[in-house]
């Protein structure tokens, strides 16, 4: 049935893509795992005695605080994105088909614009002499400019601004898929509006929520340029710690261990996402 000619084509394609992934994804990641169990060396970056010092260092109360603070900011970002994005995606799914296309287009336009430049634009707005303070002062709401720039809040605003579309898009797609009939059925059975929301809508949109959380939480821990520009080089993210360890302090094992924490977080979120999808599948069947 299969012609002979297809084999070399198929083999060549598979070799190409597997080669690429093995050489540029798998191998490098194994290197990072390897680096994380080696010893810091001031001259050659890494040296031999294998140990878990880097991981122990992660749980040093001092660094733990850095991590928890970064996690806190990423979690806040995700929460804000969810709070804004959930009703947004719902409202979006209610709009007429034609208008929906335009609105989605408008949502991804900022995503196609350079993220550094957009972060910088936020600085113009949040600065002491910036537009927001000038506006608030000119309408007499405040007398003294608010300190907005170089705060934890500024970092979170920046992250939310950059990552919001990543929360909205997966949520929108689950709202689109939500079966209208299912809601009607729930109504017919006498469930109130609130009860419908809690028992039907929330569980059904859970995969979308988790996909959104995954798409927001992970970058929110890594985008090191946001604290650099809006946080006054304070309020560091895990990404800043990793970058500093690799490019300033030259402690590669520790930087590698910190990056593995991110990978593990990702694995955990992916697992939760799969699980939620499977459960929905079972309930639907």
């Amino acid at each position: 049935m299969h012609s002979v000619m297809q084999q070399p084509f198929k083999t060549a394609v598979l070799i190409l893509v597997w080669g690429w992934l093995l050489f540029l994804v798998l191998a490098p990641n194994l290197l990072v795992v390897g680096a994380s169990v080696m010893t810091r060396d001031p001259v050659s970056f890494l040296s031999l005695p294998l140990n878990l010092d880097a991981y122990r260092q992660l749980f040093d109360p001092l660094y733990l605080e850095v991590f928890l603070h970064s996690l806190y900011m990423a979690a806040m970002t995700t929460l804000v994105c969810l709070l804004i994005g959930y009703p947004f995606a719902w409202a979006l799914s209610k709009v007429g088909k034609q208008r929906q296309l335009i609105l989605i287009f408008l949502l991804i336009v900022p995503f196609w614009t350079n993220s550094l430049v957009r972060t910088y634009a936020l600085k113009l707005i949040l600065a002491t002499n910036g537009l927001l303070n000038s506006a608030l002062m000119s309408i007499g709401l405040i007398d003294e400019p608010l300190q907005l720039l170089y705060t934890e809040g500024a970092v979170i605003i920046g992250l939310v601004y950059l990552l919001l579309p990543f929360m909205i898009l997966p949520l929108y797609s689950v709202f689109e898929d939500l079966k209208q009939e299912l809601l009607l059925a729930s109504h017919d059975l006498g469930a109130g509006r609130f009860s419908t929301f809690v028992h039907v809508i929330v569980p059904l949109t859970l995969p979308g929520v988790l996909a959104g959380v995954m798409l927001v939480l992970l970058p929110a821990m890594g985008l090191f340029f946001v604290p650099d520009i809006l946080g006054g080089s304070r309020n560091l993210l895990v990404g800043n710690v990793i970058k500093n360890q690799f490019l300033d302090a030259r402690n590669w094992p520790f930087g590698a261990a910190a990056s593995i924490v991110l990978t593990v977080t990702m694995a955990f979120l992916m697992f939760a996402h799969r699980l939620s999808k499977r459960r929905i599948g079972e309930e639907g069947a």
């Binding site: 001031p42 001092l62 309020n235 490019l247 402690n251």
Partner: protein, 346 residues
Amino acid sequence: MKKLALAGMLAVGLTGCSSEEPQVLNLYNWSEYMPQEVLDRFTEETGIQVVYTTYDSNEAMYARLKLLDDSAAYDLAVPSTYYVSKMRQEDLLLPIDRSKIEGFDNLDPELVNLDIDPENKFSVPYLWGTTGLAVDTADIEGEPVTAWEDLWEDRFDGRVMLTNDMREVFHVGLRVLGYSGNSTNPDEIEAAYEKLSELMPSVRTFNSDAPRMPYLEGETDVGMIWNGEAVMGKDTMESLEYVYPEEGIIAWLDSFVIPKNAKNPEAAHQFISFVLQPEISALISEEIGYATPNLASRDLLPDEVANNRASYPNATDMINAEFQTDIGDDALQVYAKYWEMLKSGR
């Protein structure tokens, strides 16, 4: 298979395109540390293009040079004192061929032949400067600020800026406690950390890219600044004053060095000679506000530059001043740990 071959050819073709350039000098320098005019004139005179890449800390510069190793194409870098000795001892530098350097004798005898590099085999001084207090007098009420210690006062809550430089910030903490700014004693460093973490709630931002900017932008009123940045800042904001703190300023000397993997050391030598011309040295000092070690250029400086105490401190200003020295990798690790804690704390 045709597609594959095409893809392969494309990849090879694309890689082949970026070589074959005219003569280039890769200059790795602090941000805003060389007037564009100097680079342009150098290109005009020699035909060598200057690619100017910047860093904001010695650590970043050093780490990048180590990291890139063989592929580091930087032809010239400008480390501070303590990194010159570190890099020299670690064999990261090319010796400078004095026969190709013109105007070395113009340099201030007090700033050559230092311990960091006896006989200046590997380095040629570029500029020297100090890190002191910046005060926006228009926005400060009450007693004038005269000491590092004053930064801890409640009235500056949320108005303080520090440089994004580990050694300098700890230098301040150590001096306030009466220790040497070059301390290698872990207990003293920890004490400095404790002291500095009391200051942290007041600190708005760390900045070593352009320490004058947070003052000019109105975000901060008082804190650390480099003297050249203070001079440049005063051009746009008259009320920005440079103050020599009672505990003593931090003094440093930045020197040209040629990394051992430089691709064009010839051009690097040419550039050093070019900068050592009295006229060019004077232009640099005038434009960016730091002090030139080139004595022959001092006479060419306009009076308002030569007599500017911020750029050229007098003997009284230098009381208690301390030069930064190399403290070794072990101590640096201790600093690095507390530094990260400090910056991530609230």
